[in-house]
């Protein structure tokens, strides 16, 4: 393989640049701090938990959150549905009561007759009260006294 001279120059420049980076140096009390850390109770126990355990716990937590959200949503939907049914039931009850009231009233309509195509009724409520008179007093048929 023939190496490009430009690449070679570039590699040399990269090497020089990397070597030119200032090196981090340990502080003056480095050794003392390390010795102090050794005496401390072991704090990295958590870090030694295998990655698959952490991943499993994360997945379990996610599933629990999703399940909780689904149950919460279902419960909310059920409550909503119950409220709608209650409202509908109350409306039906009001309607039924109105029908009962209506049925209790004396019908103002007088059925005169008819056939399958036609019902002849007389709505008494539309008649003027003042015009109503005993049948014996006035006759609309011929006008003569019996």
């Amino acid at each position: 393989m023939i190496e490009d001279p430009d690449d070679r120059r570039g590699d040399d420049a990269v090497r020089a640049a990397l070597r030119g980076l200032p090196a981090a140096a340990p502080g003056p009390a480095f050794t003392a701090r390390v010795l102090a850390r050794i005496d401390r109770p072991h704090r990295s126990r958590r870090a030694r938990v295998p990655a698959w355990v952490t991943a499993g716990a994360a997945v379990a937590a996610l599933v629990a959150i999703l399940w909780g959200a689904a149950v919460g949503r279902q419960s909310w939907t059920q409550q909503q549905r119950r409220a709608e049914l209650r409202e509908e039931s109350a409306a039906l009850r009001r309607e039924l009561e109105a029908l009962h009231d209506e049925a209790a009233k004396k019908s103002p309509v007088l059925y005169l007759g008819g056939n399958e195509q036609l019902d002849v009724v007389l709505d008494l409520s539309t008649l003027p009260i003042a015009a109503a008179a005993p049948a014996a007093a006035t006759s609309t048929l011929g006008g003569g006294r019996r």
């Binding site: 570039g10 420049a13 990397l18 030119g20 981090a24 340990p26 870090a47």
Partner: protein, 189 residues
């Protein structure tokens, strides 16, 4: 006076000898901190990671088998700690994008020992930090600490070819990222 070897000191540390351990810390703190500093771009973080690496070394002293390679062993502990830390950070970045820095670069905290000096060095460090850790570790070990490919492969637990490929690709990325800067510099001259 013949200096006690790392292996001999580790044998003493396994028996609970704190002075032997202190001697090991004194011997390797500089190179470990410098290596971690190049990897993470922060002096404070490097020191914290180096200290934790020594603590882990002390805890593992009982099971240590000397092969005359304590420093690579320490470097591996430090690299693994940094890898764990970066992984945790990445997860956090996914979970809380509001908190994450915009380009994934660790901004030095106030009071943090400033490792960065000069525009070129800042640029080089920034580009180095942008490299994924799997490229950053072999490039730093090879180019700066002058480790052999075989030693890097042993530290990373991967094949020689993988190490060579990662160094090549990492270097190429750095070269490409820094080329405009060098061209600008050359044009200014």
């Amino acid at each position: 006076m013949i200096e006690t070897t790392d292996g001999e000191l580790m044998g003493l540390v396994a028996g609970g000898d704190r002075q032997a351990f202190a001697a090991l810390v004194e011997r390797h703190q500089r190179s470990l901190t410098a290596y971690l500093g190049r990897l993470c771009g922060s002096g404070d973080r490097a020191e914290e990671l180096a200290q934790e690496s020594f603590v882990r070394l002390f805890q593992a002293a009982g099971g240590y088998r000397d092969q005359g390679r304590l420093l690579p062993y320490l470097f591996r502990i430090g690299t693994n700690l940094l890898r764990t830390e970066e992984r945790r950070k990445r997860r956090w970045r996914i979970l809380a994008p509001m908190v994450a820095s915009r380009n994934g670069h660790h901004a030095p905290a106030r009071g943090e020992a400033a490792v960065l000096e000069g525009e070129l060095q800042q640029r080089v460090r920034r580009e180095l930090m942008r490299l994924p850790l799997r490229f950053r570790v072999p490039i730093v070990l090879f180019e700066v600490d002058e480790w052999s490919h075989a030693d890097i492969a042993a530290l990373l637990g991967c094949r020689l070819g993988t190490v060579k490929s990662r160094i090549h690709r990492g270097r190429e990325r750095l070269r490409r990222a820094l080329a405009p800067y060098w061209q600008e510099g050359a044009a200014d001259d």
